[in-house]
Symmetry: C3
Amino acid sequence: MANFDALVNSISKLNIENMYGEDFQQTWTKSDDELNATLQVADALRNLRERNISTRVFDSGLAISIFRDNSTRTRFSFSSACNMLGLAIQDLDEKKSQIAHGETVRETATMISFMADVIGIRDDMYIGKGTAYMNEVINAVKESNRDGILEQRPNLVDLQDDEDHPTQALADLGHIIHEFGGVENIKGKKIVMSWAYSPSYGKPLSVAQAIIGLMTRYGMDVTLAHPDGYEVMPEIEEIAKKNAAKSGGKFTKTNDMKAAFKDADVIYCKSWAPFKAMEERTDLYGKGDFDGIDKLEQELLAQNAEHKDWACTEDMMKLTKEGKALYMHPLPADITGVSAEEGEVDASVFDRYRDELYKQASFKPYMIAAMIFLSKFKDPAKVLKELEARGTQRHEFK
Amino acid sequence: MANFDALVNSISKLNIENMYGEDFQQTWTKSDDELNATLQVADALRNLRERNISTRVFDSGLAISIFRDNSTRTRFSFSSACNMLGLAIQDLDEKKSQIAHGETVRETATMISFMADVIGIRDDMYIGKGTAYMNEVINAVKESNRDGILEQRPNLVDLQDDEDHPTQALADLGHIIHEFGGVENIKGKKIVMSWAYSPSYGKPLSVAQAIIGLMTRYGMDVTLAHPDGYEVMPEIEEIAKKNAAKSGGKFTKTNDMKAAFKDADVIYCKSWAPFKAMEERTDLYGKGDFDGIDKLEQELLAQNAEHKDWACTEDMMKLTKEGKALYMHPLPADITGVSAEEGEVDASVFDRYRDELYKQASFKPYMIAAMIFLSKFKDPAKVLKELEARGTQRHEFK
Amino acid sequence: MANFDALVNSISKLNIENMYGEDFQQTWTKSDDELNATLQVADALRNLRERNISTRVFDSGLAISIFRDNSTRTRFSFSSACNMLGLAIQDLDEKKSQIAHGETVRETATMISFMADVIGIRDDMYIGKGTAYMNEVINAVKESNRDGILEQRPNLVDLQDDEDHPTQALADLGHIIHEFGGVENIKGKKIVMSWAYSPSYGKPLSVAQAIIGLMTRYGMDVTLAHPDGYEVMPEIEEIAKKNAAKSGGKFTKTNDMKAAFKDADVIYCKSWAPFKAMEERTDLYGKGDFDGIDKLEQELLAQNAEHKDWACTEDMMKLTKEGKALYMHPLPADITGVSAEEGEVDASVFDRYRDELYKQASFKPYMIAAMIFLSKFKDPAKVLKELEARGTQRHEFK
């Protein structure tokens, strides 16, 4: 297939030698070529699968999942990605394990990794903790591999941390590229990452940060909109600014939702907790001050309730480019009158974009598979071609 | 093997084109040919496995399990069936997931299905809910497949709903056919589906309904026996009546356990809750009236306790054909003096039929595998032959 | 590879025909050849894996895990072992299952085993219970296989019982053999199995018993050291004595930790509960006397606290052979100042041996895989050679 050949050809020209044997954490730690490789390998794997050609590159092997927060979507995306490459999942359920019993991260990471090819971690609940934990795990398995304890080094896939949500943002980017008919068409397009009211409290900042941190790389005109007091981490804003300067895009901040929506091509609209409050919560948690956490929660809910007008309504959508901006959400959304009395989005807006929202989500398993694939093969373009030539049918009989 | 060839030959002649790409819900939604195909494919897969010939038809792929009620047997049967076809299981644990957070069924069904080939669901607790939920899931994945969101449509296997228990009833039928030496020998044989006392409360009606709904299809002389007040759903009785009329079988109801057992060839004897009470419970549950549920439970337990004489005792078994009817139970049984002070069956009866009971259970993984197989291949007879010809050893070395 | 050929050659000469189709329980039920075969097959499988040669011997198949005690290490070891042989795991989670509902072990064992190739069980909490339960499971599946209910007989791997911990002890032995450069070099070496203080209560005796029961087989000079009152089971001491007499090794007991450490080559130092107290706890548990259990626990903790000087300190290590004995622990350890205020071992000692400790743990998945392998093949040496000749790459592309 022409499309597949073009993808393979493009991948073969990218400078991605540093991905081999390495981990996938925040997108801002990756080069442009590395991000493009991820997007293109994802497309190539999807192309093979659509032709019922097996993408199984492992005869056997284990992928470990560690979810420090509940998860359906991410769990199934990770499972799907691993399964299509031939890896079986073993979940580390920290409630069933002995980790709490004073065990160090290095020890556990090593003990579970004797035959692990991949480790997927989601740890997004406390500012300053998720990435730190993932780094500990990475260092642990590197060290154990270097010291001859682990025969192979499992590569980490960051399934959401306290700062970034790389698999989500890349899936989102893949979706935008497909909707606009190619990466060359998204340059200059206006995307709004807007805060929205939700009755729940303390949603992670990582999606918002992931979006401004990634879309600015691709020359998009990125507007971050939120009420005063809902600032994201200043370091990530700094990254967005630098990215925009380098890519020829824009990064703008506003507390005016309407101004933000004006002429937008893409609307990404969801609730998050203020960064400073999350930081405070992490401190209180560290001190074991649970009364303080309760008090903080009450304050945040009260603060939240002052901004119920921050919603993606039909009227707001009319402000966008021809009233037809692409509406995006990582799901599940708090839909007004459906899943919440007052929520992030009008039911009619959500319904009109339902198919697009689900397509957006469909990119995630492929992004995870691409991240694993790129960490495992020195010459991924060659392996993709070999998979096509091997031609094993996934579904073996007709 | 002659047996295998005969099976394949027979399957090739059945009109089963509507099974391809479809789901397996209640047996009464399937044609005679479709039920026969399920029985015969199950036998053929078992035959291959007994000869250590791999039945793996998927190189990779996911099967999703959703158990809305605790389950050991069904969980392992589903796992076994999927494993023998090459699918890995990913369980949707609703306690660990975000489903409760106001998410619609359509959304969750789509989110977990991006790479799903099969979805197995057990949902039998509330009248009017299980089948409705499964239909929602089916419609969701159909729609998402039609709209280009899902690349493939996962097929549903109904692992027990509020009305029927198709994998159980077909496994039971497979067992009866094997015990009587062929499907042609069960016509006219008397099977009693009898209520029996159990100290527990609120067991599903679906096994009883599954048995009368299926065995009447095969020309059996089916007697439904229970104390007054333990009626099953009238719609299912209606189905049983029509089936019997069409197949040349019989469907009789009685409140007299002894009359029922008289000259029976097969005794199927287990507790269930009265349909009307289950309906009431569902209503109370819907209203959140938990005091009402407690009160209802007390009433049901009192009502139950009036019928302790409904048990499959040695004396009762003596009434059956030559005192040697085949005793059946879906397990686990409440055995008098063993697992309950007073229960559904005498320990000596249960012990005498233990091997048969376990053989009965052994059919279930094969029925599930057959249902999946038939949903995945247009020409299942051809694929079975190809599997034999491929001859891959499951256990690869000698 | 020379090493691989030598291993295969050695395995081919061992008298191991009784392992085929059988289970792996306590090491003292196995012959010397059978233990040596386990060690050597583990090495051979590791050798293949290190050369990226697939050890997948099953095209499909299920391994069942039953963990009646929390477990991370053992769960991952079992998963890894099964995965490298081609088996998928299905866990029997007794909390999610219906086992508690008056079901017999025979019934459950059969119901979950219709397609099971292996059953791994950890059940170490109550004296006299774990092995008894495993025997029940073994007898159940044997009987069901003999009676034509199970098409194959799943073989049991004892992942820790109330008396022995065979996968741990064999992994430990593998580690010692590798550290000393060959099985011929460990004869006469002094290994100390010493009790150590831990603030937690009621750790199983099975590791201590496993070590004295196994290392005495290999001609080692085994010293069991513990405070008065921390006796292990007399039957196991008896086994150790007999083993030592037969192998030309030694088995000594002492209540003097310093005397024990004197000139030791290997130090194995961990906490356990006194056997008699464990027996009492089992009795109290049987009677449902939970006040009694609480009282016993308080007594044991008080008794424990009298022996805080039993720790593997730097000073103690200086007493060993050239101050350089190999320090071992099954992990996780209670490290003084790290995972416990006062614990089993000084942090500096633990840190110095960290790599060795992790290498020790790395043997466990291979031991489990070897146990399964030996139960499944009549001529394991031949199958190993065939695996090498087949040469399937585990990680399929370069």
